[in-house]
């Protein structure tokens, strides 16, 4: 039984990472209708930033998270305002193409700057964990989950308790009406994308502590973010949280099914996704469009 509890805990911890990665992705998708295929690359930029700060200035990875957020915010704002904004009213396919290309450029730049060497952030406390009743909870992972939940809380507060957030929600609801009431669309689009990128950067910072990073390591995360959004739904922060935690649980529990190799974990996760799409297309907690 404690083995099962351990798997559930690991699933929730992994889910925390997926929540962190998916928050920014779902914000950009829900409000701007952009499926950002470069999201994983932004995550990895955050990872590299944390790694660079850790190795050069010995800044603890968790303390570097606000720096990641700030830097990625600026990057995201510039990217949106300078590049993506030009096709904001174009059909969805164009945003796919553009963000796909952006992903290639970012990854190649990272390869040039950092090369393909695997890097890892290993702070002194990286092995420590809570040991309770036969179950181990690594501190780093627990911290990652807590940061993810705090991020969700911050996003909710931004969206529901600030003027900027109200603007973002307005633009997401009806962009022309929002313009009519005087909202500067371009600026708000850029802010939204920047917030999404900032969250991606923080997620990247967390990821660097337990995974080795290399420029191409971000691509799987784009896919996971996509899956989390489908599972949980768009339109609400709680949807992303629920989707992320559930996806993490499915992946880890899928690996432990007796008799099956863990290759089936991926298959199981995506079967669940297809079921959700068929039975409840708006996701578990998503708002209808």
């Amino acid at each position: 039984m404690s083995q099962f509890t351990q798997q559930v805990i690991l699933g929730l911890l992994l889910g925390g990472i997926y929540v962190a990665v998916a928050l920014g992705f779902s914000l950009v998708w829900g409000v701007l209708n952009i499926v950002n295929l470069a999201h994983g690359a932004l995550v990895i930029v955050g990872s590299y930033l944390t790694w660079a700060l850790f190795t050069r200035f010995h800044i603890d990875p968790f303390l570097s998270l606000p720096i990641d957020a700030g830097a990625l915010f600026v990057l995201g704002y510039l990217l949106q305002r300078g590049v993506i904004n030009h096709i904001i009213r174009a059909p969805l396919l164009f945003t796919f193409l553009l963000t796909f290309g952006l992903n290639l450029v970012l990854v190649s730049l990272l390869l040039l700057i950092f090369t393909a060497d695997f890097r890892s952030v290993t702070p002194s406390y990286s092995g420590a964990g809570l040991h309770l009743a036969g179950v181990t909870i690594p501190y780093i992972r627990l911290a990652g989950l807590l940061v993810a939940l705090v991020m969700a809380g911050i996003l909710w507060a931004i969206l529901n308790r600030t003027r900027v957030g109200a603007g973002i929600l307005a633009v997401g609801a009806d962009r022309d009406a929002a313009q009519l009431v005087g909202i500067d669309l371009r600026h708000l689009y850029a802010i939204t994308f920047a917030v999404g990128a900032a969250f991606a950067g923080v997620a990247g910072g967390i990821i660097s502590t337990f995974q080795s990073i290399t420029p191409t390591a971000g691509d799987p995360y784009t896919l996971q973010a996509f899956a989390v959004v489908i599972l949980g739904g768009l339109g609400r922060v709680s949807a992303t949280v629920a989707g992320g935690l559930l996806f993490g649980l499915i992946e880890v529990l899928g690996q432990s099914l007796p008799g099956l190799g863990s290759g089936y974990a991926n298959a199981i996760a995506f079967v669940v996704l297809v079921l959700v799409l068929v039975v409840r297309p708006r996701g578990l907690l998503g708002r209808l469009a």
């Binding site: 690991l10 890097r119 092995g127 337990f210 290399t214 290759g263």
Partner: protein, 413 residues
């Protein structure tokens, strides 16, 4: 009258002198420079295996500099300078095959040097066979490649089934003897072969396999599997996969408190990245290696082991000696060089036959191919990371260190 006769005499003298001059040059091996020999290589310079692909290219380029500095490969009396044309297969096996065909058809590659990884090697081998162009590869150890009856593909490295069995042999000599083994394997053709070979071999040495699971190659999270492995209390924990997964499993083992007496990973610990990524957590880890800078081979041509290490450190401004991926890639070039020289021709069929009957000792070890085309004559060695440095610990005849056994628990490090 005299002036008219002097001119032809002078001309004749001139010609004589020129001939003498050329003859003098001909006194040292070859005289003229022939057409360049073009090799083609599709290597993973980007993508999930870009690190290992980069090491492969380093191995090829080291030999390229050396051979061109000597003027090229000698055929008869002519030195042919060498060109290697590279394409980036982005770590995609199918793209690799397309690029090899392009190298042969458009870029006129006469011979093919192998890619990184068994997956891409398997697809490239099909193209080499179809075009009847010899390919010598150094980074695809899966025996599945060589069980298809191809005539034009040769592998200078030891096959996959030998990768971790050396660790089992070593474990059998240690005391207290480990008795249980957990195997986590990626599900690509190379890793599965390595894992299966260990699982078949271990019981014969009294080691029982108590856990064995596969995961999708390049899976982002392995903590669930590591936790399951921990529940079976293994003495030996092995991973058959690649660098990223080895790092992830080692980290997860530390975080979840999996304390084994032996941690052995097939690929990963031999690369410098493993130590720099993990720091002190990398200590005590074993791996099976195709080659280490400590091996004692006396080569019949090309550089000695020590000179090779020096050449590498100089060319790539590295304080670390080359890892085995670099060395085995150079060995592939050496096999081609010797085969072309022996065949005395650039005809693909003749070079292929020369490769099939090749038997030569190099800094990398013996290069000789069995009837399937894979080098079963060179042994694998076992390395261990001790205090941030690699030591060859088994077999004793080539070792420069002793295994630090058993691995202390994480909490007391």
């Amino acid at each position: 009258m005299r002036g008219k006769r002097i001119a032809p005499i002078l001309a004749g003298l001139g010609l004589l002198l020129t001939a003498c001059g050329t003859a003098n040059n001909g006194g040292s091996t070859a005289t003229s420079s022939g057409a360049p020999i073009v090799f083609g290589a599709a290597v993973s310079l980007t993508g999930a295996q870009s690190k290992e692909g980069g090491l492969t290219k380093q191995g090829y380029d080291l030999w390229l500099d050396w051979i061109n500095q000597k003027g090229g490969i000698v055929i008869g009396n002519v030195k042919h300078p060498v060109q290697i044309k590279y394409e980036d297969d982005q770590s995609e096996a199918n793209l690799s095959a397309t690029l090899v065909q392009k190298l042969i058809t458009d870029e006129k590659a006469q011979f093919i040097l192998g890619p990184y990884g068994s997956a891409a090697t398997a697809t490239d081998a099909i193209v080499a066979e179809k075009n009847s162009i010899p390919m010598v590869e150094a980074n695809g150890a899966a025996q599945a490649i060589f069980n298809k009856g191809y005539k034009y593909t040769f592998g200078v490295l030891s096959p996959a089934n030998k990768y971790l069995t050396g660790v089992i042999d070593m474990a059998a000599t240690l005391s207290p003897k480990p008795t249980t083994l957990a195997m986590l394997a990626a599900n690509d053709n190379f890793s599965v072969e390595v894992a299966k070979a260990v699982e078949d071999y271990a019981p014969s040495k009294g080691i029982q396999v108590v856990f064995s699971k596969q995961y999708p190659a390049a899976a982002p999270d392995v903590s669930g599997l590591v936790s399951q492995a921990k529940a079976t209390n293994p003495d030996i924990v092995m991973n058959s996969g690649h660098l990223a997964e080895a790092i992830a499993i080692n980290k997860a083992a530390k975080q979840l408190g999996l304390n084994a007496k032996i941690f052995a990973y097939s690929v990963g610990p031999s690369t410098p990245d493993f130590i720099s990524a993990l720091g002190p957590d990398a200590n005590y880890v074993y791996d099976g290696s195709q080659w280490t800078p400590q091996v004692k081979y006396t080569p019949s041509f090309y550089l000695s082991v020590a000179d090779y290490v020096k050449a590498y450190e100089q060319k790539y401004s590295s304080s670390e000696p080359p890892d085995y991926h670099v060395a085995e890639s150079t060995a592939a070039c050496l096999a081609f060089q010797k085969a072309i020289e022996t065949a005395g021709s650039l005809d693909p069929g003749k070079v292929r036959d020369a490769l099939a009957s090749l038997d030569v000792m190099t800094f990398f070890g013996q290069i000789k191919f069995d009837s399937r085309g894979i080098n079963i004559y060179k042994p694998m060695v076992v390395e261990q990371i001790q205090n941030g440095t690699h030591y060859t610990v088994f077999p004793a005849s080539v070792a420069n260190g002793k295994p630090q056994y058993p691995t202390p628990p994480w909490s007391s490090r």
